[in-house]
């Protein structure tokens, strides 16, 4: 929920209209490609994740709902990796 709030706040500050969570900002023509690049940078900086080559699909970035799902999956992945590394370190 925390990730979703940050993403919603970001969209609210940058897209000039109020958005439904599942509204496709690219289909609606509300934003341009520069915004997509900024969105990738925002997500990487805000959540300390790296969008890998296979993550760079417009479907992951096209709506508040899609981006939240993507970020939460990346955070969960990082959490699992952290636990594995932590266990390895304890040994």
């Amino acid at each position: 929920m925390w990730a979703k709030k940050r993403i919603k706040d970001y969209f609210s500050g940058t897209v000039a209209v109020t958005l439904a969570d599942d509204a496709d900002i690219f289909d609606l023509g509300l934003v341009d490609s520069l915004f997509a690049v900024q969105l990738v940078m925002f997500v990487e900086n805000e959540f300390s994740i790296v969008a890998e080559r296979e993550d760079l699909n417009i479907r992951n970035f096209c709506s508040i709902a899609a981006l939240t799902e993507f970020v939460e999956a990346k955070l969960a992945q990082r959490g699992r990796a952290g636990m594995v590394n932590g266990l390895a370190a304890e040994r």
Binding site: Y10, G13, T14, A16, V17, G29, L30, D32, S33, L34, A36, V37, Q38, L39, V40, M41, F42, N45, E46, R53, L56, N57, I58, F61
Partner: protein, 285 residues
Amino acid sequence: MKYQKIGVVGAGVMGGGVAENLAATGHQVIVVDIAPEALRAARIQIDRNLRCMALWDSASSAADHAAMLGRIGFTTDYGQLSTVDFLIENSTERWSVKREIFPRLDLICHPECVFAANTSAIAITRLAGTTTRPDKVVGMHFMNPVPRKKLVEVVRTPLCSEATLLAAKELLAQMGKEAILVNDMAGFVSNRVLMLTINEAIGVVQDKVATAKEVDEIFVKCAGHKMGPLATADLIGLDTILLTLNVLYESFGHSKYLPAGLLTQMVDAGLLGRKSGRGFFEYAG
């Protein structure tokens, strides 16, 4: 391709976009700027943009991206422009800056090299007059973001030769773009009209008639524009808007081009739009 090696003067938002577009379409590019930090920032931005090309083009690989970036040289040395086939100038929208650059390029570049001025409003004829090759000077008004905007306003001066116009169209075709040919006068078509709209939209916010978000929402939802005038201003850069309005005011002497007080204040405060992270709206990254 007829034109292989292209010189790009100015590593700001527009110069960087032109260089990225050229490299992505297979050209060798030399980007020159007097400021090393501008060159470094342009390289970082181009690297990001090329990486994010995968968002739209699933076939583009990391190797393609590296090869594209590898085709761009970044330098503070104007001398490296002596071998370019075509030159695109993108310096700051100030006559005092451009009038120094063109005679300098004239001495360095090959006599057959065409000079394209990517300027927001300064009359191309005036720039052509600072060189010994006025027949080879043409306007190329690119839109931002350059790699994704398919149409370029090409500006013909009374001195510009047909061969130069053909060369401009050919290079643009190589870049995957189309040209729309207009005659030279300050602001051409796009900015003579657009700057007034943006200035008036800023005036509306200044007079507290509506907020920036409301102004833009009216244009997006009522007029069907893809982007409102204030988001457009943020995209162009408020400093560039101010400089362009000043050029239009000086050129036509009409008070309708006088910049809104709020615009000047925002530029003074460093609120330049997307490039500074905040203008009428906020941006991250």
